[in-house]
């Protein structure tokens, strides 16, 4: 291996500093005892974290986000595994079109999906319920799961499945006892990636949430456009903590570099 020179390392330090700066600042400001956005100098305080829990709308939005993300990720996994099996195992007319349809949300800006769903929901009167918001999120996160499931399926050694069939196992038993355990890293990795993407989604959600279904990123956006106080930093720090926890879990299960690099 060739070593990086001092200029390269300096460049690297600056880039890492640039990437981490806003996140670090948020996490520090969240602990400020002051009323304004300042770095804590003399002592730290948890008052702004306590303030978050005094805002029922933030707490409600957090649970909205949690529910939407968990439900959307779960349904996306079911859809993606079924679709993944069809796309990986069979050659049929319309296969390429189906593949393109399932991956299309990656190519359509969330802004456009948001206004399109707003129009549909307005026409059929589908507003004010988390169900419709979740349906929108399923569409956005399914492609991520599908990619991981397809990658897992294509790397699968099928001799175990064939052995089970030879031994008289039915199709369902083979799927449940052989196929699912073998692609489990892809499924759990896909679920977590879908969860994170749904939990963080803003641009589409901002068009299709109603006052009762506001998710946390939308609530934060609305709050940030009106007032800026250290509570915003506390909420952001909590978001970073949730994301970091999910990220570590992802890293353990699948290898984060594999998931994210595969995603590009």
């Amino acid at each position: 291996m060739h070593r990086n020179g001092p200029i390269a390392l300096l460049f690297h330090t600056l880039v890492v500093g640039f990437v981490l700066a806003p996140l670090v600042v948020i996490c520090l400001v969240a602990f400020t005892p002051a009323n304004t956005l300042t770095l804590p100098t003399t002592h730290v305080s948890l008052r702004w974290f306590a303030a978050v829990f005094d805002h029922p709308d933030f707490v409600a939005s957090f649970f909205n986000s949690l529910w939407v993300a968990a439900t959307a990720a779960t349904i996306a996994v079911v859809l993606a595994v079924a679709a993944g099996l069809a796309l990986d195992r069979y050659d049929f007319r319309g296969r390429a079109a189906l593949n393109a349809l399932f991956l299309s949300p990656l190519m359509i800006p969330h802004l456009v999906l948001g206004v399109a769903l707003l129009r549909l929901f307005a026409l059929i009167g589908a507003t004010g319920s988390l169900v419709w918001l979740t349906a929108g999120h399923i569409v956005v996160v399914t492609p991520y799961v599908l990619r991981l499931v397809l990658a897992a399926l294509s790397g699968l050694d099928r001799s175990a499945e064939q052995a089970a069939v030879t031994l008289g196992a039915s199709g369902w038993i083979v799927f449940r006892r052989i196929t699912v355990p073998m692609i489990l890293p892809g499924i759990t990795g896909g679920w977590l990636l879908a969860f994170i993407n749904s939990f963080d989604e803003l641009t589409m959600s901002i068009f299709i949430t109603s006052p009762a279904t506001v998710t946390l990123p939308v609530r934060m956006y609305m709050y940030a456009t009106e007032s800026i106080d250290p509570m915003m930093a506390a909420v952001s720090a909590l978001m970073i903590a949730v994301t970091a926890a999910a990220m570590l879990l992802l890293d353990r299960i699948f290898g984060l570099d594999k998931i994210l690099v595969g995603q590009g």
Binding site: V19, V25, T38, L79, A86, F92, R93, A135
Partner: protein
């Protein structure tokens, strides 16, 4: 792949997803396209008559053209800066030893998973009049500089959000490059710069190109960054669509702009696929 089995099975497996995607992607897009041709009247709302007025207005009115121009300009600038930072950074990362390589790769691409609202908020704290950047400016030089609510703030935050999308494809293409090839170039008398330019760069061109298209597409349709760091006056395409829908309530006009954003994105994606295919043919042939 076995094509021998009954051809209904794959359709049954894919049907739930296909129906959902048809209902929630294709149908809404069709409805939006139709909506963009409808007449809008401030007093009575959307009318049943059709018109091209919204497209003509968006493509001829100076106010809209100005916003489109800003969107394309800032997206292009973001793409350029991401390429200038992201490609060398990916190269430096690829030359690191474990465990530093994995740690820093995670540090660079991990923020991808943090909500864009959070990152935008972080930058608004850093760049604001009392933020750290201005503290530094006051201490070491030019005094307070207005950065927040300028195009500079938008570009800085966009680069921050988009950088992983550049690092990832360049990193991927570097993984395919055998480091011994570069070493061979040195042994044969090439300078470090020549080896970089003639051996490494051609290998990562596709990575840079692919990253650039993703970064450009995402920047041109970015919403949270221009909304939170550009303020009310510095609009980009996405914030314009949001205003037309939520404040002006002129949905047909908003729909027309959204359709234009979609078309620009699809053209970029198709152009990208053409380039990839053409290149693949050249390498094979």
């Amino acid at each position: 792949m076995n094509s021998a089995r009954a051809s209904t099975t794959p359709w049954l497996l894919a049907a739930p997803g296909a129906l959902l995607f048809t209902a929630l992607v294709l149908v809404p897009l069709g409805l939006t396209l139709i909506l963009s041709f409808h007449v809008y009247d401030a007093a009575s709302g959307v009318k049943d008559e059709t018109t091209l007025a919204h497209y003509i207005a968006t493509l001829s009115d100076g106010y809209f053209l100005n916003i489109f121009w800003r969107t394309l300009r800032l997206a292009a600038l973001t793409t350029l800066i991401c390429a200038l930072i992201g490609a060398p950074e990916a190269y430096i990362l690829s030359r690191m030893r474990e465990p530093w390589r994995s740690i820093f790769l995670l540090a660079i691409i991990g923020p991808l998973l943090v909500s864009v609202v959070v990152r935008a908020f972080g930058w608004s704290m850093l760049l604001g009049p009392t933020g750290l950047v201005n503290e530094a400016f006051r201490a070491f030089g030019p005094g307070t500089v207005k950065i927040l609510y300028t195009e500079t703030a938008i570009v800085i935050a966009l680069v921050h959000v988009m950088l992983p999308f550049m690092v990832i494809p360049v990193w991927t293409s570097l993984q395919k490059l055998d480091p011994m090839v570069e070493a061979a170039a040195w042994t044969l008398g090439a300078s470090r710069f020549t080896a970089l330019r003639r051996v490494v760069l051609p290998q990562v061109t596709m990575g840079i190109l692919s990253g650039s298209l993703v970064v450009f597409g995402l920047s041109a349709s970015a919403f949270a960054i221009p909304a939170l760091l550009g303020g009310r006056r510095l609009k980009m395409a996405a914030t314009l669509v949001y205003d037309e829908y939520m404040h002006e309530l002129n949905w047909p006009l908003g729909a027309a702009i959204a359709i234009l954003v979609l078309i620009i994105n699809l053209v970029i994606m198709l152009a990208y696929q053409r380039v990839v295919e053409a290149r693949a043919r050249r390498t094979l042939g």
